[in-house]
């Protein structure tokens, strides 16, 4: 990997590994998929790994003595190893959940319901995804704790001075997104984690939009908890990850109860399995872990540094293309070094839904809506935006198609 970071990524070659990107859809000459922040496409090898699992060695894991079950367990746990390696995190702190949302809820419920008290504060930011807001609101509702929202600067960065001022004795948890899915903003999570730890608070980093797109070193970030999701990182749906400090997990009571997470069960009570399994109740997402492991290997081989470089170039092209269309307003930071390749924008006189619909007719897929960030939308004073988001398979042709379709969209709706 060391060397590969210095050669640019060949997005066209990579694209050929993604079946859906080369199969033309009706009514459009190929698909310009610019909605990877919602979910990524999957390379053939990830689909093949899951299919092979089902066809060759499908069996329930961990308990079977027969060979097929042992092989299933081996492929499942190898998936965990690959994911842990990608984010430089110990395997025993790497828990499979069903998505990033469950990973965050796991902490909110297992830790929050038991530990939060009236007067305690959970600090989130105004740019959080609902998945890192609503769990804390729900748990606050049960425990009497308070959820506070850290404001943003006018450019769409976190207001670090405000954050500093909000941190205090009452702060029990600081939950912050690494890269905003709406604004693209990259937050200084290492700094935030250390500020939070200084006041004795725990930390949850929502790395859903960073792990797929850039090097993420969970150990360097040092947060107590870090969450991400499989389907946005070339992996399947139905799986997410909570990367937690092992010691923290040892101290915590379990969340979901059931098979696999126990050591012993009696009518009087139960004792728990070792981590990570203590937090994985029931049959885990086995094929999904196999697929996600393959996705992690795929990303690791290409190199997160190279993916990030490619996306910086694409993000710049995107900003330039959007600037070229009269009436377009881009939200979030303009400095490529401080943002990801997920770009929200509005077009005067045309509603985001209509933008999305029109662009689809030109084979360009973008998202329109509030992107599960309604507090942010209110803060920005918009109801919804259009959002184009890139990934390692995005090419300049996709950006040109976006540009031309947007120009056509203006004309069609007779925008000012």
């Amino acid at each position: 990997m060391g060397d590969s970071t210095h050669t640019a990524l060949d997005a066209r070659a990579i694209r050929a590994e993604f079946p859906i990107l080369s199969s033309p859809r009706p009514g459009a000459d190929g698909v310009h998929y610019l909605d990877s922040a919602a979910t990524s496409q999957k390379p053939e090898r990830v689909l093949d790994a899951m299919d092979a699992y089902y066809r060759e060695t499908n069996a329930n894991v961990h308990r079977g003595v027969y060979e097929m079950a042992a092989e299933a367990t081996q492929r499942f746990e190898a998936g965990r190893d690959a994911v842990a390696r990608l984010v430089n995190h110990p395997r025993e702190g790497t828990i499979f959940t069903k998505n990033a949302t469950e990973a965050i809820n796991l902490v909110a419920w297992a830790w929050g319901v038991r530990e939060l008290r009236e007067g305690d504060e959970v600090l989130v930011t105004m740019m959080e995804h609902h998945s890192n807001t609503v769990p804390w609101q729900i748990v606050a509702g049960i425990t009497g704790a308070t959820v506070r929202f850290c404001p943003l600067t006018p450019e769409g960065d976190l207001d670090m001075d405000a954050l500093r001022a909000m941190l205090g004795d009452r702060t029990r948890m600081v939950a912050v997104v690494h890269v905003s899915n709406t604004l693209g903003t990259i937050n200084p999570v290492e700094e935030i984690v250390s500020m939070a730890h200084d006041v004795g608070a725990l930390t949850m980093v929502d790395a859903t939009q960073s792990v797929p797109h850039m090097p993420v070193d969970a150990t360097a970030i040092g947060s107590d908890f870090l969450a991400f999701t499989g389907h946005k990182m070339c992996g399947p749906t139905g799986i997410g990850v909570l990367a937690a400090q092992p010691g923290r997990l040892e101290d915590m009571e379990p969340f979901l109860g059931g098979g696999e997470m126990i050591s012993d069960v009696t009518t009087e009570g139960s004792t728990w399995n070792d981590i990570p399994w203590k937090f994985e109740a029931g049959t885990p997402p086995i094929a999904e872990a196999v697929g996600l492991g393959e996705a992690a290997r795929f990303l690791g081989e290409i190199g997160p540094e190279r993916i990030r470089s490619h996306e910086m170039a694409i993000a710049q092209q995107m900003l330039d293309a959007l600037d070229d269309i009269p009436g377009v307003t881009v939200l979030g930071p303009r400095d490529i070094a401080r943002r990801g390749a997920s770009v929200s924008f509005t077009l005067d006189g045309v509603h985001p839904h209509d933008i999305g619909q029109f662009l689809d007719s030109r084979g360009v897929c973008v998202r329109a809506g509030h992107h599960c960030t309604k507090p942010l939308m209110r803060h920005l004073g918009v109801q919804s935006t259009a959002r184009a988001s890139a990934y390692l398979y995005t090419t300049d042709e996709d950006i040109t198609a976006l540009h031309d379709a947007l120009a056509g969209c203006r004309a069609w709706f007779g925008a000012p």
Partner: protein, 149 residues
Amino acid sequence: MGGLDDLYQQLILDHYRNRRGRGRIEGASASVHEHNPVCGDECYLDILVEDDRITDIRADGDGCSISQAAASMLTEVARGKDLESALDLVEHFRLVMHGDVVPDEDILGDAVALGGVAKYPVRVKCALLSWLALRECIAGYREATATGG
């Protein structure tokens, strides 16, 4: 782009650009505020009822072309209807949006042009927003008059 022409018929774009029945009614008999959780669009609907008949109806709020055109068309076709027929109208439109019946121009007026929306499930919510708001509005009105007099 046949699909696009089908969805965005000229009549729709016309209603979108030139909204009918836009605004609020002071002293409305009933009002509701609905929003579309998918996109955040909002709709305020006010009706004025006299002798069980909708004598005025206005819709406000922002939204996409489909939701705005649908609201505009709704105010035209619902104005002057008695409450029961207005509910029938909404129900017919709802069924059209769910692809269960073919749109009847005699019932829907200009809103017949929205028939193509049924093929776009996400947009169905846009089209229905103001129409279902009318249903809520009428229900609210009836409840208030039944209890309060």
